[in-house]
């Protein structure tokens, strides 16, 4: 194809000394450094780039920016595959490989175009009216294959992303001339100023010409220390003036990227004042077949010519609805494009009179476009009626007027008003915390825009009210541009193939509010988010319903202003940094001793220590047997620990717990239950008294954060006059648990003092001690039901103590045991595990603690709820033991209890279930309706279609007299 490059000086952004090669749909092409993929494709004369969403009509490059609806490509392969990239924004890189989307087998010959042939059957919302029989699922797969654009990657992202927080006195979004003026003025007035530019080159719409004023402002900005962020697009304004922006660090596509690059950076910027200088979009006109490749925005063609040195066509017709058409025409003609005519639909427009040598046809519109894969010509017809004239052209440019980019203003809560003369929405005053300048404020005349922006920058820097915007300068543009009484599809939304007649249909069927219009027709719901279609859709709905555009309304703009990469939003919170796991202080020691780690909540802990060839289950059985026979060693460090200290500590704990803690003697410990105000169990643990005013509180591992937070809330919010201090010490103290009949023997071998011996220190006592200068806090407690010592010691000594204990393990016949074995033993003892045997409905009475409550006279959290009738209902789910009648079949956790097989009313479910090494039979805990009165009953449990006969038994299964803990 003939090169469409224009001679220099056109192409100010392009470096012709650095050619780059790339492929498009497998075809080798070349461009230059500084090109975008779009400009390079245009330079190579490639006009057909994609297919539209619904009708698979040919699509070319339509714009030169973020508003691009048609030129979407998939870039890259494997872990670097990026779908739906806008060719207009993608910098060209050596080796870039891009493919068209939504077409098969090729963009040139797309089977999907057949749907285009049935377009009449596929108006907006057609799928609501049919596909009901036999059901949608029959048609859905085919429709899903036709829908969608690019192809998702199938490998995890190779690249990474990061997040940066910044703050400024004044943040200016947009580095066009207004933005630059505002930033310079703000900085000059002493504000710490930050300026975001979405592209490579400051200057906005003037960035490719050699504009002296722009260059001067940019230089001043740098000199004044304005922090300028290029390639950074502000996409959202959030609560309390947070502006989020995405910086493109390593654009996709280059073939020679290292294995993992920083691809994008999220900026979270707080500024005292935000100035939006985001410019305006060009609004297209509506005319038949206005979607053909070769139909473009006039501003885009202008930019391609001057910034990239690319002719989008050689013979152009400009459809005009704005005075801007004429400057574009002259600029393009000067660059070497033949302007066949400017077709100005505004009756009586005189703007063309000053344009020498241009053929201007006023009061006329395009009534037809010739060519399907590329424009070949068009027909121009007077609006008043009459014969049309055929013009030969390969480029049709839209100069339909402007739509200020009011997105950030609206996101910040700003209001809009309709400026009828120029047919645009402009900000109606400032938004809270955000002021607009330049074209996005509706200020189009250059001089006023620059001075207003400067005044605004200065005012906000000094904390003063900003001046009112001198709105105007865009000239006259007709709102309605739809051509009446012509055949052919007039496209409103180019990506989703929404036609003017679809808007008419929506009006006819009463989907008249803006949101109904959008959702029914899908206009504005493509990847371009309606940047160049929303206003026309509104205007059309106004036309069809006899309303002014402002009466139809606008949808509230929401972030993101442009689509943003999910990876950038997540930033570093991926992989191992997503909810990082917590590790035991002696993690490495356990790993070296054969631990099989599993995740328990947020903790990484040994589930067991299987020997070679041993399953987890077998290991747990062996470990439990060993503990009960000799002794075992468990790392209980994650157990929650708090110190509660103060003159009111005792009183406070009495209020928190179901049990009474104020009566504990120094050194004595007691098991306690914690309820929420609704009376349900939320945590349990052991409380021990260290001194008159100091308590040592254990919570469950999973419940620690919640319990510590609850204590603080009660203390600070409800009992603010109590003198209590709560200190979380979980990570300060490791907990090494030694359990079993030979537990004390084991500790004694290391030299633990005699005061800790079972005869000297009863079960449920706590003693401060020391071993070789290392402070210890030793608690005699047991979750296994055996003689147990929980040795708390400073966390960094954990591995050393484990090592020392382990040297004596063999001679004692002792073993390491993990969570699984602990669960086996606690189930044998009928001890509950909060969150496993209880859920958000379980009351203390349900698990056997009713008597404890009756004994306590004082109030405690949740007590009042226990007095409700529902709390005392005897048919509540209550904790029971279950054994299978055949004494062999292990009961599945989650199995439901009922006499009859499902479907039937459930009577409860199995909560914990293990094989008991002690008894040699499976045992289980369950919650059973009225279970406390049903001992001995024979029932059935049902699990996924199987049924097992069971008997209800009393707990515990092992050591019912509870003698073993005493040693």
């Amino acid at each position: 194809m003939a090169s469409q490059r224009l001679a220099e000086p056109a192409g100010t952004w392009v470096d012709r000394s650095h050619p780059l090669s790339f492929t498009f749909n497998g075809r080798q092409l070349s461009g230059f450094r500084g090109d975008t993929l779009a400009s390079a494709l245009l330079a190579n004369g490639v006009r057909l780039v994609g297919r539209s969403f619904k009708l698979h009509r040919p699509r070319g490059i339509w714009s030169c920016g973020v508003e691009e609806p048609g030129a979407l490509v998939d870039v890259g392969r494997g872990a670097r595959r990026t779908p739906n990239v806008r060719a207009t924004l993608l910098p060209l890189a050596e080796g870039l490989a891009a493919e068209s989307v939504n077409c098969w087998p090729s963009v040139g010959f797309d089977v999907g175009a057949l749907t285009g042939a049935c377009a009449a059957l596929l108006p907006a919302g057609f799928y609501y009216k049919t596909f009901k029989w036999p059901n949608w699922r029959l048609f859905e797969p085919a429709i899903r294959r036709m829908a969608g654009l690019g192809r998702a990657p199938t490998a995890p992202d190779a690249d990474h992303y990061e997040e940066v927080a910044a703050d400024a006195d004044v943040l200016v979004v947009g580095a066009g001339i207004a933005g630059l003026a505002a930033a310079v003025a703000a900085a000059r007035a002493g504000a710490r100023t930050m300026l975001l530019a979405s592209g490579e080159h400051p200057g906005g719409a003037l960035s490719w010409g050699a504009d002296a004023e722009v260059a001067a402002l940019a230089a001043s900005a740098r000199q004044l220390g304005v922090r300028i962020q290029l390639r950074t697009l502000a996409f959202g304004v959030y609560d309390h003036n947070l502006v989020c922006a995405g910086e493109s660090v390593s654009p996709e596509g280059a073939a020679d990227l290292p294995g993992c690059v920083l691809r994008e950076r999220l900026w979270k910027i707080r500024a005292r004042a935000v100035i939006a200088a985001t410019g305006a979009f060009e609004r297209p006109l509506l005319f038949p077949d206005n979607d053909r490749p070769g139909v473009m925005l006039a501003s885009a063609a202008h930019k391609y010519a001057q910034a990239f040195g690319v002719a989008c066509g050689r013979r152009a017709v400009i459809a005009a609805n704005s005075d801007s058409a004429y400057e574009r025409a002259v600029a393009l003609r000067d660059a070497g494009v033949v302007i066949v005519a400017v077709v100005d639909r505004r009756e009586g427009s005189t703007a063309g009179e000053r344009s020498h040598g241009l053929r201007v046809i006023t009061g006329a519109a395009l009534s037809a476009v010739l060519g399907t894969r590329a424009v070949r010509g068009c027909t121009v017809t007077p609006l008043a009626g009459g014969r049309g004239e055929r013009l030969r052209c390969d480029l049709i440019l839209n100069a339909g007027g402007y739509a200020p980019a009011v997105h950030l203003h609206s996101q910040a809560g700003g209001k809009l008003r309709w400026l009828g003369e120029s047919a645009m929405f402009v900000p109606d005053g400032a938004a809270p915390g955000l002021v607009s300048v330049g074209a996005c404020a509706g200020v189009f005349a250059r001089g006023p825009a620059v001075s207003h922006a400067a005044e605004t920058g200065e005012a906000l820097a000094l904390g003063r009210a900003p001046p009112q915007a001198p709105i105007g300068g865009a000239g006259r543009s007709d709102a309605i541009t739809r051509v009446r009484d012509v055949k052919g599809k007039q496209f409103v939304d180019l990506q989703n193939d929404v036609l003017a007649e679809d808007v008419a249909l929506a009006a006819r069927e009463n989907y008249r509010s803006v949101e109904h219009l959008k959702r029914y027709t899908t206009t504005g719901m493509g990847t371009d988010q309606g940047k160049t279609s929303n206003i026309n859709a509104l205007i059309l709905m106004g036309e069809y319903t006899g309303q002014a555009p402002s009466q139809v309304g606008t949808t509230r703009f929401r972030p993101p202003y442009a689509p943003v990469t999910l990876g950038m939003i997540a930033g570093r919170r991926v992989g191992a940094l997503y909810r990082p796991l917590k590790r035991l202080p002696a993690h490495d020691w356990h790993a070296a001793h054969g631990a099989l780690f599993e995740t328990f909540g947020d903790w990484c802990r040994p589930a067991a220590y299987p020997r070679p060839g041993e399953t987890l289950e077998a290991a747990a059985q062996r470990e439990a047997r060993t503990v009960r026979k000799c002794a075992g060693l468990l790392d209980g460090s994650p157990l929650g620990k708090l110190e509660v200290f103060g003159p009111d500590a005792a009183r406070f704990l009495d209020l928190m717990y179901v049990g009474t803690m104020s009566t504990l003697r120094i050194g004595q410990a007691r098991y306690g239950l914690l309820l929420n105000e609704n009376g349900t169990l939320v945590d349990d643990g052991i409380v021990a008294r260290l001194s008159a005013q100091r308590y040592w509180v254990n919570t469950t591992t999973a419940g620690f954060d919640r319990t510590a937070a609850a204590f603080e809330e009660w203390l600070q919010c409800e009992y603010a006059d109590f003198k209590v201090v709560i200190t979380p010490v979980t990570s300060r103290w490791a907990n090494i648990t030694v359990a079993g009949p030979r537990a004390w023997e084991w500790l004694a071998k290391l030299g633990f003092e005699a005061a800790l011996a079972p005869a000297a220190m009863p079960h449920m006592t706590l003693r401060d001690s020391a071993l070789d200068g290392v402070p210890l806090r030793v608690l005699r407690a047991s979750f296994s039901g055996e003689l147990g010592y929980e040795v708390n010691l400073p966390a960094d000594h954990a591995a050393a103590l484990l090592g020392r204990l382990w040297t004596h393990a063999a001679e004692l016949g002792a073993a390491l045991y993990g969570i699984e074995a602990l669960q086996v033993m606690r189930v044998e003892k009928g001890y509950i595990h909060i969150g496993t045997d209880t859920d958000g409905t379980t009351l203390p009475g349900d698990v056997g603690f009713a008597r404890g409550i009756e004994r306590k006279a004082a109030p405690f959290v949740g007590r009042r709820s226990l007095l409700r009738t529902a709390s005392r209902d005897p048919t509540r789910l209550q904790l029971v033991g279950l054994v299978p009648l055949d004494e062999r079949t292990q009961l599945p956790v989650g199995a439901q209890i009922a006499l009859r097989p499902p479907p039937t009313l459930t009577e409860g479910h199995v909560t914990s279930s293990y094989r008991s090494p002690e008894l040699g039979i499976p045992v289980a805990l369950a919650l059973l309706k009225g279970g406390s009165q049903r001992t001995g009953e024979e029932l059935r449990v049902h699990h996924l279609g199987t049924t097992i006969a069971v008997r209800v038994v009393k707990l515990p299964f092992v050591d019912p007299a509870g003698e073993r803990v005493h040693g």
Binding site: D239, Q716, A720, P859, R864
Partner: protein, 90 residues
């Protein structure tokens, strides 16, 4: 993402805090009826407007404080200590 002013630490991002819900709830005593108790536990004003609520600077100093915040605009009208009476924002 909001910014809240912790009375001890100053202006910090919302992600450092945990919201504890409505504040100034008066707990009835044990003798209260089921209706009074249920009202206290569950029934709320849930205003579309100024809401007095308590927050904790969980990832900072750990202290609780009250604030009055508009539930539509998220504007924070005042921040005050847990033991202070609510300022009037009517």
């Amino acid at each position: 993402m909001m910014q809240l002013t912790c009375p001890w630490c100053g202006l910090r991002d919302e992600s450092e805090f945990v919201c504890g819900g409505t504040t100034h709830l008066i707990r009835p005593d044990l003798a209260a009826s089921d209706v009074t108790w249920g009202e206290y536990l569950f029934f709320r004003d849930n205003p579309k407007g100024v809401h007095r609520e308590r927050w904790r600077h969980a990832y900072g100093c750990g202290q609780w404080f009250n604030l009055a915040r508009h539930t539509v605009t998220h504007q924070v009208l005042s921040v005050y200590a847990m033991t202070d009476p609510p300022p009037d924002h009517s």
